[in-house]
């Protein structure tokens, strides 16, 4: 089923024409309204007026997460605040937050794009959809919520957490579609077992999962244990939130909403396009966003395009599920975590370059992160009370910085191996 069949099945040549027209438009708009882009374009001698092909976008500069941070909070907005009706902020962080904004039209478009994803995954206006993503600055909850309402489904805005209550409500309200992270779906299956709830007795039929990487094996497990059809969807707040791409019921790759987003897949080192079908970093340009357009945003997510047409009839290109990151970002319980954030907190507490190691595990379908910290003289006390207070202090500061709870383990000085690369400080034991 389609939500906007005409657009979703637009013949490729027509799509390319539409994209070029919209691309030119957005480039002109940012050049006029956003000093950051204007300066960059001028520096490189780029004139959006002269754009004649989509390929010419490759001459344009990238936008990085750091650019968003540097322009915190409103520096990259392309409309005055009075035209902004909503802001969201990237998940989890305080010190390195990024802010994005939406105009009325943006919210409208966003709702339609999410409705497309829901439709593609099998959801209809007859469905009862339980949204177990956090509502708040994170785009997941509200993004899915507005899309589901647009579609006309009955929405249960339960937000994240309290698994037993989720299951109770799922039973009582006869939920037919579940929206959450894939690991949380498995956690729910575990808790159902503990509660003696038989998933086959539920009304659940569809699951739309996103916000963290997962695998085909996890899909099979979710489908079997919950008796549903699980689909993947993708989005990021910097570009819009959920609704950027999603799987159709073929369950073989995520259709990118190409009439609103231009996709590039580049070699993360050379930054040149990879051969068709090869794995590279996903780079996205928004074609229609008013309040917060981004040009060539480097997502750091690794994927590959599937150029073959999809049996579902949509002409939008598909991309594979996310295969990892081209930087050291971790996604823990759906929250983005950078090792540098942990480093900064430890540095503040210790007053020296910290030696630490991050261990990420998945236990009972729940992510767990342990920060191992070497005890140097500045954070070593002869009194147990003070030593334990230090551990609690580190935990508290990390939780407030990252937005998720972490375990802290003190280890002896020089007991952690020394690494040059920061990536090596992370041991991700999760088997997806």
């Amino acid at each position: 089923m389609y939500w906007q069949k005409e657009q979703e099945c637009l013949p490729r040549p027509d799509l390319a024409k539409l994209q070029l027209e919209r691309l030119k438009n957005v480039l002109k708009k940012v050049a006029t309204n956003v000093p950051f882009y204007r300066n960059k374009f001028t520096e490189l001698g780029l004139d959006p007026e002269k754009l004649t092909s989509l390929e010419e976008l490759q001459q344009y500069p990238f936008t990085l997460k750091q650019d968003l941070r540097d322009n915190y909070p409103y520096g990259l907005f392309a409309v005055p605040l009075r035209d902004v009706v909503r802001v969201h902020s990237s998940s989890g962080t305080t010190g390195m937050a990024t802010v994005v904004g939406y105009s009325k039209n943006d919210i409208n478009t966003w709702s339609d794009l999410v409705a497309r994803i829901l439709c593609g995954a099998g959801v209809t206006p007859d469905d009862v959809i339980q949204i177990a993503f956090g509502y708040g600055l994170f785009t997941g909850g509200f993004g899915l919520h507005y899309g589901a309402e647009r579609l006309g489904a009955s929405v249960i805005p339960i937000s994240s957490g309290n698994t037993k209550r989720q299951i109770q409500i799922m039973q009582d309200f006869k939920t037919t579609a579940l929206v959450c992270t894939p690991s949380y779906a498995l956690k729910m299956a575990d808790v159902m077992m503990d509660m003696g709830v038989n998933p086959n007795g539920l009304s659940l039929r569809y699951g739309l999962f996103g916000a963290e990487p997962w695998s085909e094996a996890m899909r099979v497990e979710i489908n079997e244990r919950l008796g549903i059809k699980a689909t993947d969807n993708y989005g990021l707040s910097e570009v819009m939130g959920p609704g950027v791409a999603g799987e159709c019921e073929e369950c073989n790759g995520l259709h990118v909403n190409e009439d609103h987003f231009l996709v590039e897949v580049l070699d993360p080192k050379s930054l040149e396009p990879v051969a068709p079908g090869e794995v590279g970093e996903l780079v996205l340009t928004t074609l229609t966003k008013e309040a917060f357009p981004v040009i060539r945003y480097r997502t750091r997510d690794l994927t590959r395009l599937i150029p073959e047409p999809c049996p579902c009839g949509r002409t939008f290109v598909r991309m594979s599920r996310m295969m990892g990151r081209s930087d050291d970002m971790l996604i823990i319980k759906g929250v983005n975590v950078f090792p540098t954030q942990i480093e900064a907190v430890l540095f503040e507490i210790e007053g020296t370059e910290p030696h630490y190691r991050l261990i990420v595990e998945r236990e009972n379908n729940e992510d767990r992160m342990t920060v191992m910290v070497e005890v140097v003289e500045s954070i070593f006390f002869d009194e147990m009370k003070k030593q334990r207070a230090l551990v609690e202090n580190i935990k508290k500061r990390l939780a407030s910085e990252l937005g998720i709870g972490v375990a802290v383990k003190l280890v002896e000085e020089r007991s952690l191996e020394r690494f040059n690369g920061k990536g090596d400080r992370v041991i991700d034991k999760r088997q997806l």
Binding site: V375, F381, D382, E383, Q387, L410, E413
Partner: protein, 143 residues
């Protein structure tokens, strides 16, 4: 009046205590008293030794995290009520004990109590006033 104590951070893994004592023995350092405070994850070893500076440097050389603090060593007769009397004085002066441990000296006549108080100076004054024997660094080393 104050005695120096060294503290060593210990991860809870086997053999660490043995390693520390071996390092000290190899360097001819004598342990006068020790105590271990521990949690499930880690421990803090506190030592009174005859050569604090040397002990600290050799342990550091061997990769341990070492801290140095001052404690008070009190000598009491090794008989019933010895410790109770000292603690009553401290309690009456409204001073908290952070931690303490004890050992009996070689002659077996006296016990030595090692204290870390919240307010060290006030504790010394209170103990002195009541005529409690406080040992100096030299006296501890000579025991």
């Amino acid at each position: 009046m104050l005695v120096e104590q060294i503290a060593v951070f210990l991860e809870n893994k086997s053999g660490r205590l043995a390693e520390i004592t071996a390092v000290l023995a190899d360097n001819n350092i004598n342990i006068r008293a020790l105590s271990v405070a521990d949690t499930a994850d880690f421990g803090i070893l506190r030592l009174i030794v005859d050569n604090v500076e040397k002990a600290k440097s050799v342990l550091k050389e061997n990769g341990f995290t070492v801290g140095k603090t001052t404690v008070i060593a009190v000598e009491v007769e090794d008989k019933t009520g010895g410790l109770a009397r000292v603690l009553q004085i401290i309690h009456a002066a409204n001073i908290n004990v952070e931690y303490m441990y004890a050992f009996v000296n070689k002659t077996g006549e006296n016990a030595v109590l090692i204290f870390r108080f919240e307010k060290m100076d006030e504790a010394i004054a209170a103990l002195k006033e009541k005529g409690v024997t406080i040992l100096s660094r030299e006296q501890i080393c000579a025991l």
